[in-house]
């Protein structure tokens, strides 16, 4: 049977108002306001939906992979409710704040350990960092082709057929499996799982693997180093120009000429 892996990321609700976020004392972390719910990154939901559409069409086994530290299991279990067959959580303290390269390493190692998949699906980019690196990274590490920005993924007898978004239309790309595809929102929103499935999914115990289980050595990987988080300073200078309309007009012209233009 066709096998599909979907990599999903848990993020802080992107709808949370930006003004309530704070920068941690070390200047290197963003602290979400307390009570911000964790959610699945939206493009990853699209990737899962793409996998489920393939499952509906030709049948397949869908495995969801998610990496992080202190993952919110109820949120990730929703992937099972929606129709995924298996959920594998990659949890380790070392996985905290991992950069794109490290994340791709962990996910690629997991995919290897599971014996590989015909299709690996990722979201086009994460809703928090918007980096869009991990999918390509996994493909590079696994040595398989990658097709990005899919708006439609179909499986034929011999190949995976992807409609790929271009700035003014789309192109159709075919690749023989195994292949990695990154999904865009045009693929469609993740289906609403029947609540019965949500309840059933909450009872499932997902497989949890740490760095040791995967045999990845993160210490040896290159690592992006975040130097500083800051809110750009903005100055607003306000000067009142008074007088008659004529004087005001002159005053404005003067300012524009001398200081702006």
């Amino acid at each position: 049977m066709l096998t599909i892996a979907v990599c999903v990321k848990q993020v802080t609700d992107p709808e949370a108002p930006l003004s309530l976020f704070a920068i941690a004392a070390d200047g290197r972390h963003l602290v979400p306001p307390p009570g911000t719910p964790p959610v699945l990154s939206t493009f990853d939901e699209n990737a899962l939906e793409a996998a489920l559409k393939i499952k509906d069409a030709v049948g397949s086994r869908v495995t969801v992979l998610s990496m992080g530290n202190k993952l919110a299991k109820p949120v990730l279990k929703k992937t099972l409710a929606a129709g995924a067959d298996e959920l594998i959580l990659l949890e380790d303290e070392q996985f905290e704040d991992l950069d794109s390269n490290g994340t791709a390493m962990v996910l690629a190692a997991t995919i290897d350990k599971l014996g590989g998949f015909d299709i690996v699906l990722c979201g086009r980019q994460a809703a928090d960092t918007d980096a869009g690196q991990v999918g390509m990274g996994i493909a590079a590490k696994l040595g398989i082709p990658a097709v990005t920005l899919a708006r439609k993924v179909e499986v034929t007898d011999t190949s995976v057929r992807v409609e790929r978004i271009l700035p003014y239309g789309h192109e159709v790309v075919e690749a023989a499996p195994p292949v990695l595809v990154t999904a865009s929102n045009e693929i469609g929103e993740l289906r609403f799982p029947p609540v019965k499935a949500v309840i059933a999914a909450q009872k499932v115990q997902p497989t949890v693997w740490g760095a040791a289980d995967l045999g990845v050595d993160l210490a040896r990987s290159t690592r992006a180093n975040l130097v500083k988080f800051f809110v750009p300073a903005r100055d607003i200078l306000c000067e009142m120009i008074g007088g008659s309309p004529q004087e005001i007009a002159n005053g404005i012209t003067e300012v524009l000429k001398t200081r702006i233009v």
């Binding site: 609700d13 709808e15 949370a16 108002p17 309530l20 306001p33 009570g35 911000t36 719910p37 959610v39 929103e189 289906r191 609403f192 799982p193 029947p194 609540v195 019965k196 499935a197 949500v198 309840i199």
Partner: protein
């Protein structure tokens, strides 16, 4: 006149056998449903039963109900008369105790008989000549009316003939019988005897045909309805929705996806329907041209049950014998039956194949459009003379779609997601929920545990720009009255009402549990809500989950303050009143305030206190026409037929008011939309009662609110620039 009683007995036996033959399967179909314990509060049930059945209380809510009243009572009295007639025919000198020789009885019987005849003629006229849409001009109704007519007429002539043959003192006041006897007086005794004999038989045969015809027709309500009245819902109207027990061991099927998953009481409703069409007459969905009709909902389900009944019975028997065989002797047949009642037909291949051939309850019998069109406005149940409960059926089917199939309108998915992630249907962050009330400098209950009341602005009052103004008005009024108010702030979440009505009981229960926990944590005793939907849910539904607090709506609360003299109101300061003329207002009843909770008067009295001339709409109070937003409908598209809010708006605009007063954020949004849609936004203002009262606050009492932000003060700006509660969440 003596007739061969043996022939009579044979005929009677045949009729009774036929009656039982038709009746028994119907009862068996009923028992296919899940059991629902409703035998409690016997005294209360019986008292109401007497009023409803013998007093015909709900039937008489409409004037045409008088026809039914007379036919009903006429029939009872005539039945005794018939007993007497049959008895006489069988044995000379037969006389029923008390009434057999009672002159008053025969007088009463003749009076009622005349009324019945008149009633039948009027009913036939209405049904076949006037032809209102709510009634079907079908053969069945004609047969019944004809039978009743013939029964009474044969009895008239039989009694008249008997009187002509042997005048009896007991019949001397029975004016019809006496009149008939005069008519036929000249005929010979033997001829009279022969005709009388024939009439007697005709009467008997008609009566027995009626008996046999009943179970197969809508007149089954004659039998089912008394039970239905006795078993009626005694819970608060607003708490009638069945809770789902998600933790139950055998919880694997939620909602109703096939007819036998309804409870027996729900199935009894189907048999009880008299097809009077009263529910449909005021059903906003039907009246705005949608496929849903509350009446057809019931009759289609009934026809489906009767059609599917035989097959379901066969399947159930097969499954029961299979499970009895499988489990050997230890499971009694009853156990097998009961088990099966919950889980439906066995999963065997045979059951599966017949399953596929069955018309699907959802889809074939009741369409998705119908299921999602209901606003849960309660009008059908309010009008229904036999106490049918339509809304639970709709919600049970929605539950099946949401909980089991995951098949629901896209907009509903989004709303659920918003409620789940953000705790409100609008999709605003949960972290800004308390911002507006904080801006009004209302403390949280954590800051002010001793506050007089906890104000529950709800999602709209917290987050929707237009309804925030209502919150501000309330806060102003409370301050003017010297009442200290606190809120939950960000700890408040959506009450879950819309989720529940859209079938997502799971989401509702989780939101409710969180809110109840928070409220209990702050030891809250008294809550005032802005929204009638929150009001109903907190008051009538949260107790199902163990909550206990006093909940009132802000109109009740403000009325209380006003009647205790704590709100000083200056009449007529709304600004547009012309000299010497009061501004004219109509009050649009909110379903969840009025029909569900009986709050009709306080809002009206408040409007009068504010110096407005109150006019009533044609459809008002318990017959008020829904704004279209309830039942979670506010979050769904409305593309079928006319928009319900526009239908209501047209009715309102015909009354030409200056102000449309509402007491609900949904109504406010819907009617404001409607008024704008009809291009009347500059003439007619739609305002919450709290805003109107705020405008009427005498200046001396307004002084205290100077610290309120400008935005909270709505009266001067009216409603010109409000932003609307977005109907489809962003």
């Amino acid at each position: 006149m003596t007739y061969t009683s043996s022939v009579f007995v044979i005929v009677l036996m045949i009729a009774l056998a036929l009656f039982v033959y038709v009746l028994v399967p119907r009862v068996q179909y009923l028992l296919l449903g899940r059991p629902e314990p409703r035998v409690d509060q016997v005294v209360r049930r019986t008292a109401g039963f007497l009023v409803l059945v013998f007093g015909q209380k709900k039937v008489l809510k409409e004037r045409v109900g008088l026809i039914h009243f007379f036919i009903f009572w006429g029939f009872i009295v005539i039945a005794f008369g018939t007993l007497q007639v049959v008895g006489e025919g069988l044995r000379e000198g037969f006389s029923l105790p008390v009434i057999g020789d009672n002159r008053a009885f025969y007088l009463l019987k003749d009076i009622l008989s005349v009324l019945v005849i008149t009633g039948v003629i009027v009913a036939a006229h209405i049904r076949y000549v006037v032809r209102p849409t709510r009634l079907k001009a079908n053969l069945e109704a004609g047969i019944i009316l004809g039978l009743i007519f013939a029964l009474v007429v044969t009895e008239f002539f039989y009694s008249g003939l008997s009187y002509a043959l042997a005048p009896r003192a007991s019949h001397s006041l029975a004016f019809v019988a006496v009149g008939v006897s005069h008519l036929v007086g000249g005929s010979g005794a033997s001829a009279l005897d022969a005709v009388g004999h024939t009439l007697w038989w005709l009467h008997v045969v008609l009566l027995l045909s009626f008996l046999v015809y009943i179970p197969n027709s809508k007149h089954f309500h004659l039998i089912a309805c008394p039970f239905n009245e006795w078993l009626r819902n005694l819970k608060p109207r607003g708490g009638q929705i069945y809770p789902v027990d998600f933790d139950a061991e055998d919880a694997e099927s939620f909602g109703v996806g096939r007819v036998e998953a309804f409870t027996r009481k729900q199935l009894l409703d189907l048999y009880s329907c008299a097809e009077c069409g009263r529910c449909q007459d005021n059903c906003p969905a039907y009246q705005s041209g949608k496929r849903l009709s509350s009446k057809l909902l019931i009759t289609k389900l009934r026809d489906h049950l009767v059609e599917e009944g035989p097959r379901l019975l066969r399947e159930r028997r097969a499954a029961a014998s299979k499970s009895a065989k499988a489990s050997g002797e230890q499971a009694g047949p009853l156990d097998g039956h009961e088990n099966d009642t919950r889980s439906g037909p066995a999963d065997g291949g045979a059951a599966l194949s017949s399953e596929q051939a069955r018309p699907a309850l959802i889809g074939d019998v009741i369409s998705l459009q119908e299921i999602w069109a209901c606003t849960t406005c309660y009008s059908c149940q309010e009008q229904c003379p036999v106490q049918n409960e339509h809304i639970n059926k709709i919600i049970d089917m929605r539950r099946h779609l949401v909980l089991m199939e995951g098949e629901l309108p896209r907009e509903a998915q989004l709303v659920f997601r918003n409620m789940e992630v953000n705790g409100n249907p609008l999709g605003e962050s949960a972290l800004v929920r308390g911002d507006y009330l904080r801006m009004l400098q209302v403390p949280t209950i954590a800051e002010e545990p001793e506050a007089d009341v906890l104000y529950w602005p709800g999602c709209a009052g917290s987050l929707d720009a237009r309804n925030q103004k209502v919150s501000a008005a309330f806060v102003n009024l409370a301050r003017a009255a010297g009442v200290s108010v606190a809120v939950l702030g960000n700890e408040e979440k959506c009450c879950g009402e819309a989720a529940r009505r859209l079938g997502n009981e799971y989401l509702y229960q989780s939101l409710a549990a969180e809110n109840i926990g928070v409220l209990a944590g702050h030891n809250v005793r008294k809550i005032v809500t802005q929204c009638p939907h929150c009001f109903n849910t907190l008051k009538n539904e949260y107790p199902q989950l163990g909550a206990e607090f006093e909940v009132i709506h802000h109109t009740q609360f403000l009325h209380e303050l006003a009647s205790r003299g704590r709100l000083r109101l200056d009449a007529g300061v709304l600004g547009t009143a012309q000299a010497g003329r009061h501004e004219r207002a109509v009050y649009h009843d909110s379903c969840y305030l009025g029909r569900y909770n009986g709050v009709y008067d306080q809002p009206r009295e408040l409007l009068k206190l504010a110096g407005l001339e109150l006019m009533e709409l044609p459809r008002t109070r318990s017959k008020a026409f829904c704004c279209g937003a309830g039942g979670g409908r506010i979050w769904l598209e409305e593309s079928e037929g006319e928009r319900i809010n526009n239908v209501r708006t047209d009715e309102i605009l015909r009354a030409a008011p200056d102000v449309v007063a509402v007491a609900c954020p949904y109504c406010l949004t819907m009617l404001k939309d409607g008024v704008d849609d009809r291009g009347a936004g500059d003439r007619v203002r739609v305002m919450d009662i709290a805003e109107i009262l705020q405008g009427a606050l005498s200046l001396s009492s307004q002084a205290g609110d100077s610290k309120l932000p400008e935005r909270g003060n709505t009266t001067s700006s009216g409603c010109a620039a409000e932003e609307k509660l977005v109907r489809s969440p962003a």
